[in-house]
């Protein structure tokens, strides 16, 4: 078990002081995490409407649906360090990264619903969320994020900008050859790239223990001379602090960093997953370190907020999510002719 024990309040205060985080930052993080959680829970609800019996093609939201419920701290903690002009490339499980990067909730929801008002006018969908304004993109192909983020990092370096580029990926994706190819080149060329591996123990139904020769990936990063850290992905502060170092390193032109975050998804790989490959006990076990509840407890204990304040933040998040979902539902579908447009610029 890798999750670090909860620090004492004294230690925690010390850690937070040192990190430069202000109480308000932690409240912002809290708000983002609950926004993600609510957003995904709502998407989940709507996704299953009209899908009884379960059929991917029925209902309002069609196709596969990969939710990151449980993994919010990784997205929020790492991306709390970035600017809007930094690049983030995400995966088939992209909502939490998108929201943490500041992608507009309404356009995001509308895209997931396949509406004309969506980020991509309904052409991309849940696995292909693009937001030029927020410098966010993703791909449904496992392992595809690494080189693309390295390419953005390359461009930043070439253009003498102090931006960084993030590649998110799962622990399954990190077995893919693009991971090592990217580590090598980003390290050799000292690109401002930050790779964040979300280790949720499974790639689809496949437990990592069956297909990995090492327990973790971070040691692989080290073998490419990339500073590599293992962080508690259920602790937004831990993720934040480590990523901060990585971002500073990147901005200063020192090169890439690998961050491996231990985390867990409380829901199936995709909606409809029978979860034959794991036990209820395991899920239960991990839910005890729910990153949102953990932060909540800390905020209260540290007296950074009282329950009322947190309730207010949750309320706000709920409202924003609801507005986004409503917006998506009410938005029109694109017209069929649109399908034939826009192959070429």
């Amino acid at each position: 078990m890798i999750i670090k024990p909860e620090p004492t309040i004294k230690d925690l205060s010390f850690i937070i002081d040192n990190s430069g985080l202000k109480p308000n930052d932690l409240l912002n993080m809290y708000k983002r995490m609950v926004t993600i959680r609510y957003f995904e829970e709502e998407i989940r609800k709507v996704y299953h409407e009209g899908k009884n019996p379960f059929n991917m093609a029925s209902g309002i939201i069609r196709g596969e649906m990969h939710l990151a419920i449980g993994q919010e701290a990784v997205a929020v903690g790492s991306l709390y360090n970035v600017r809007v002009d930094d690049v983030v490339i995400s995966t088939h499980r992209p909502h939490h990264h998108a929201i943490a990067k500041g992608v507009d909730l309404k356009k995001l929801a509308a895209e997931i619903f396949g509406k004309a008002t969506g980020l991509c006018r309904g052409k991309g969908g849940h696995m292909h969320l693009f937001d030029k304004e927020k410098n966010f993109a993703c791909s449904g192909i496992v392992g595809a994020s690494f080189p693309q983020a390295a390419g953005a990092a390359f461009a930043f370096k070439y253009l003498n900008k102090d931006n960084v580029a993030f590649a998110f990926a799962g622990e399954g994706a990190a077995n893919h050859g693009t991971f090592s190819e990217t580590l090598n080149i980003a390290s050799a060329w000292e690109l401002p790239l930050i790779i964040v591996i979300e280790d949720n123990k499974y790639a689809d139904s496949t437990p990592k223990s069956l297909v990995m020769s090492t327990t973790f990936h971070y040691q692989r990063g080290l073998a490419y001379n990339v500073p590599s850290y293992l962080v508690d992905g259920m602790d937004v502060i831990d993720v934040y602090i480590t990523t901060k170092k990585a971002v500073e390193r990147g901005r200063r032109g020192f090169g890439p960093t690998l961050i491996e975050a231990i985390t867990y998804r409380y829901v199936g790989h995709f909606e409809g997953d029978g979860e034959e490959y794991r036990t209820k006990d395991e899920v239960e076990f991990w839910s005890q370190v729910d990153p949102i509840r953990r932060l909540e407890n800390r905020l209260l204990k540290l007296n950074f907020a009282d329950s009322e304040m947190l309730a207010k933040l949750r309320e706000e998040a709920r409202r924003e999510v609801q507005e986004a979902i409503d917006f998506a539902i009410k938005s029109p579908y694109p017209s069929p002719e649109e399908a034939l447009r826009g192959v070429f610029a």
């Binding site: 192909i141 790639a203 139904s205």
Partner: protein, 333 residues
């Protein structure tokens, strides 16, 4: 035994051959618990265990290459490429090695490898999970390209593949699998319990007709049959041909039909240009030019990525309605 859809039929074919031939192993992502997601390996893990049914890491190039190496020392790997859309992560080992090593080695290294992959859209899975792409394999020498559309065919073609000494790619359409979480446009039918083979290179006339020939594969066969029913009601007699394998291709059956009807519509769920429709048209005009009463017509995905949104997706994948319409247009010509 009654089988609904091609997934169970394919896995049943593999199971029977695995019992007969202990050189067969199944490799790929999520082939154990999840039956390769689209059910092509379902039930095999329970029966044969992890020694023969093996989950790989997400490393298409490597497990395809391992298939090449394992075949070269006597195994017959069955490899799942979960979605055909992922070919780009492992294509070199497929087209430069699996498909060529037999030829390049002057006949020393047969490559008895069966790749099973899922194709097709129509359920909202967008541009990177809805493609068909079989034309690419059919274009490159060294692959046999198999596209079953019924349970009976799926089992027989799978068994044939598992007894073939060459790389055979079986393209299973998702909407024909018969799995509960997907729409089903295929059929349920009686399938022999015992193993049997269906020859490659034999198209089948799914419906006889005399006014127009409609040629397709996989899901498009079923949609064409429905369109043919609509035409039938108007007194138009459409012949519907299911190609079953693109390589080898049964020229005889399609040319015979083209000569009979003089009007041909080719329906494809792959991209339109530089693909299957052009090839079939070439072969027909080559042997039946004089008999063509009107130019050969085609329907396919009109050279755009498959978009996500339902109305957009529906606009690009040939439907019963668009097949019917195109057939009518051809008949009016």
């Amino acid at each position: 035994m009654k089988i609904r859809g091609i997934a169970q039929a394919i896995s049943e074919g593999i199971r029977q051959e695995m019992e007969r031939n202990d050189k067969i192993v199944v490799l790929g992502e999520d082939v154990t618990y999840w039956g390769a997601v689209f059910g092509f390996t379902m039930g095999l893990f329970d029966k044969f265990g992890r020694k023969r049914i093996i989950d790989t890491p997400i490393t298409e190039q490597t497990f395809m290459g391992m298939g090449v190496g394992a075949a070269s020392v006597g195994l017959h790997p069955v490899i799942s490429l979960m979605f055909v859309d992922f070919l780009g992560a492992g294509f070199d080992q497929m087209f430069n090695h699996m498909a060529k090593n037999y030829y390049m080695s002057g006949g020393q290294f047969p490559m008895p490898i069966t790749v099973i992959t899922a194709i097709g859209g129509g359920y909202g899975d967008s541009s990177q999970h809805s493609q068909v792409l079989y034309s690419i394999f059919a274009h490159l020498p060294g692959f046999k390209v198999v596209v079953p559309s019924t349970p009976y065919d799926a089992k027989g073609l799978t068994i044939k593949a598992l007894r073939d000494q060459n790389p055979v790619i079986i393209f299973g359409h998702k909407l024909l699998t018969g799995l509960p979480f997907l729409p089903f446009e295929g059929i349920e039918e009686e399938v022999p319990d015992e193993p049997y083979e269906i020859d490659f290179g034999k198209a089948i006339v799914r419906k006889e007709g005399s006014d127009i020939t409609i040629i397709g594969t996989a899901l498009m066969v079923h949609r064409s049959l429905k369109a043919a029913e609509m035409l039938e009601k108007e007194g138009i007699s459409a012949e519907v041909i299911d190609l079953r394998t693109l390589v080898p291709l049964d020229e005889e059956t399609i040319i015979k039909s083209a000569k009979k009807t003089g009007k041909v519509l080719i329906v494809d769920e792959d991209y339109m240009s530089y693909g299957m429709t052009g090839e079939i048209a070439f072969r027909i005009q080559s042997k039946a030019l004089r008999e063509l009463k009107v130019p050969i017509s085609r329907l396919a995905v009109p050279d755009v990525p498959i978009p996500f949104s339902e109305p957009l997706e529906n606009a690009v994948i040939p439907s019963v309605k668009s097949i019917y319409d195109e057939a009518k247009k051809l008949l009016m010509h």
